[in-house]
């Protein structure tokens, strides 16, 4: 059965169905539906909702709950996510799983609340200090808001690493029919590393401080191995009409939906355009882009920013591929006509 | 007979036990210990005065003193 559901609500319900019983958060538009839904529904399943005093407190409550072995989540947007960056770095350094939701708002500064993708670099290329990565998932539909949230918990636990849902406000705020049951049964793994008190076992420690000579280098290389494994095993992307395409559009989130419409119209006009939509932004589908770019020599990256994923596409491309960019920052939303016009310019 | 045992190689020579011993029977050694401090020691001629009051152990920041009674 499918239910007409708002993206943010689908995400919140996904968290509950993923076994998340702890939510800590601070209000910020455009993600308030998430805490409001969880404040209402978590207590019904024996969960805990804390309206935290700040995003800094939220992420550190996550750190505590995660260290105790629980599935925990917070959500925020723009400035709130910036405040949490220290926590992400500690989670990654301490190897603790957590799910963080960023329903992006426009920046820099207080910015605005219209749909945007300005936080790609922050999410994918750090944000916090040190040599680490978040797992970053980019839903483009309400159904994916539900499914990828469950996936985020699964990946976070599997790799003991923070996982972020990075969505624009359009994906968070619009409604679509959704299947609100997991595709596969949710399995929460055992967490023998969790801190539960040293009952019948030696005391355990979770930390990110390594002061001994060489210790931190070993730790960083261990983390790197983990990120390499993610790149081997966890890359997700969607393709459309790439088999015969002369031009490949690469977009995630809302622009990928608009690009699909543009491609449909372009094909009616005989223009062979196709789409590659990264679903995981870290690990990034570099290999797939590299392979497609061996044959498709023109790429148009479409983003709702001034060109952030663009850099990753440029790095992934095969030599001799021409990468073009069309972006609408600051709350501007590309229309199918705009994308079609950009594609036609490249023919 | 009450007495104390000072873990000489754990002592950092802070003088707290010397200062607080009500019988004033602890002193500081003239020999370095393994970690480079002059550790506390019982004055050999006064050690029989120890009452096992535990004050020295209570004030020892390094938990280097055990008390027997």
């Amino acid at each position: 059965m499918r239910v007409l559901t708002k993206g943010n609500i689908a995400l919140a319900e996904g968290a509950i169905q993923a076994g998340c019983r702890y939510y800590f958060g601070y209000p910020i538009t455009p993600q308030n539906d998430i805490p409001e839904y969880l404040a209402k529904h978590l207590p019904r399943v024996g969960g805990t909702f804390i309206p935290a005093e700040s995003e800094i407190a939220s992420i550190n409550m996550i750190l505590g709950a995660s260290a105790a072995g629980a599935r925990a989540m917070t959500s925020s947007s723009g400035p709130g996510i910036s405040l949490m960056q220290e926590g992400f770095s500690y989670l990654a350094g301490s190897e603790l799983p957590a799910v963080i939701v960023n329903i992006m708002r426009i920046g820099p500064g207080l910015g605005g609340i219209a749909p945007t993708q300005g936080d790609y670099n922050q999410a994918v290329h750090g944000g916090g200090h040190g040599d680490y990565h978040n797992i970053v998932l980019a839903p483009a539909s309400c159904q994916e808001m539900f499914d990828l949230t469950i996936k985020a918990f699964e990946l976070a636990d599997k790799y003991r690493n923070p996982a972020m849902i990075l969505a624009d406000a359009m994906v968070g705020q619009f409604q679509e029919p959704c299947r609100l049951t997991p595709k596969e049964p949710v399995v929460i793994p055992e967490k023998p590393w969790a801190l539960t008190g040293a009952m019948g076992r030696p005391a355990q420690l979770i930390k990110s401080l390594f002061l001994g000579p060489g210790e931190m280098e070993i730790h960083n290389l261990d983390l790197k191995k983990k990120y390499d494994t993610m790149e081997q095993n966890e890359v997700m992307y969607e393709t459309r009409h790439l088999d015969d395409a002369d031009i490949m559009i690469i977009a995630f989130g809302t622009p990928s939906r608009i690009a699909k419409t543009a491609i449909q119209f372009l094909r009616q006009e005989g223009v062979r355009a196709g789409l590659l939509r990264p679903i995981t932004l870290f690990p990034f589908p570099s290999k797939a882009i590299h392979e497609y770019s061996q044959r498709i020599k023109k790429i148009l990256v479409v983003e709702m920013n001034t060109g952030q994923m663009l850099r990753d596409v440029q790095l992934a491309c095969h030599n001799g591929t021409r990468v073009y960019f069309y972006g609408r920052p600051g709350g501007g939303i590309p229309y199918p006509d705009d994308i079609m016009a950009q594609v036609k310019k490249l023919l | 007979m009450a007495h104390i045992v000072i873990d000489t190689n754990r002592c950092k020579g802070c003088y707290f036990c010397v200062k607080y011993c009500p019988k004033q029977i602890i002193t500081i050694s003239k020999q370095y210990n393994a970690i480079g401090y002059f550790p506390a020691e019982l004055s050999p001629d006064k050690k029989d005065l120890c009452t096992g009051c535990k004050t020295c152990a209570l004030m020892c920041p390094d938990t280097a003193i055990e008390v027997y009674k």
Binding site: A52, E53 | K69
Partner: protein, 250 residues
């Protein structure tokens, strides 16, 4: 002949990194003794902040989570909500709690989180080399107040135990000192009371411990004892500022 004073079981047999005469070592031992005496070692989890307190995990034989600077009360909140039957305590210095972490401690206290905070106040940032802390006394010279703390530019030392005691969620707030035998015994009683508040689910408990930092005060360990007595205690009076007797939640 029997041992009447030995190392508590919870205190590992590891030499501390504390400077000679730093009363922080006494604070660690007191906490370990109380954990032993209450028989809660196997259900206690410690959450140190950042500073000299961070190496708690090296010294206490309990589960430990290392928290970001100032955030231990938030981490303890998250953990306690997952494990309500465990004893969770944060362990913070004055830079950690009274400067960068004021927001987290005040709101954890105000929510009445059933956790305990051990707060070491030595009026200076110890581990980073003796910079001014919010608790630095007026006139006190530090590496960042080389001419002495001046209220016109750096404000006044902050009294956390009194401030936290004003919050409804707080079950127990006390200030103790670690520089004299009688005070050390009182300090241990305060720690025990704080843990008992948590065991009895009374709400937030905090014990502020005045501690010496002779290295950064630039005096000998025994001179630091006098300094604590003569300079800190007049500004930071010892005492119990709040003690809940029943589950008098509003």
């Amino acid at each position: 002949m029997q041992a009447v004073f030995t190392r508590p079981k919870t205190l590992k047999d590891t030499p501390t990194h504390f400077c000679p005469g730093c009363t922080h070592g006494i604070a660690h031992r007191i906490v370990a003794e109380v954990i032993d005496e209450l028989g809660i070692r196997e259900k206690t989890i410690g959450i140190p902040g950042v500073g000299c307190c961070v190496f708690l995990y090296k010294y206490l034989d309990i589960d430990v989570l290392e928290a970001p600077h100032g955030r231990a009360p938030a981490c303890a909140t998250g953990m306690k909500r997952v494990l309500p039957d465990r004893i969770i305590f944060a362990y913070q210095g004055d830079g950690d709690m009274a400067a960068i972490g004021t927001s987290e401690v005040i709101h954890a206290a105000n929510r009445g989180e059933n956790i305990t905070v051990i707060y070491i106040n030595n009026s200076v940032y110890g581990m980073t080399g003796g910079q001014m802390a919010p608790t630095t006394l007026l006139g006190q010279q530090t590496t960042t107040t080389p001419y002495g703390r001046n209220f016109r530019s750096e404000g006044y030392p902050i009294r956390m135990a009194e401030m936290l005691a004003t919050l409804e969620g707080v079950a127990y707030s006390a200030r103790v000192a670690l520089h004299k035998p009688k005070y050390v015994m009182q300090a241990k009683k305060a720690v025990e009371k704080a843990f008992m508040m948590q065991i009895n689910e009374m709400g937030f408990s905090v014990v502020e411990m005045l501690s010496t930092c002779n290295t950064n005060w630039r005096v000998s360990p025994t001179e630091a004892i006098d300094k604590l007595e003569n300079e800190m205690i007049p500004y930071f009076p010892l005492g119990v500022f709040k003690e809940r007797t029943g589950k008098d939640f509003l």
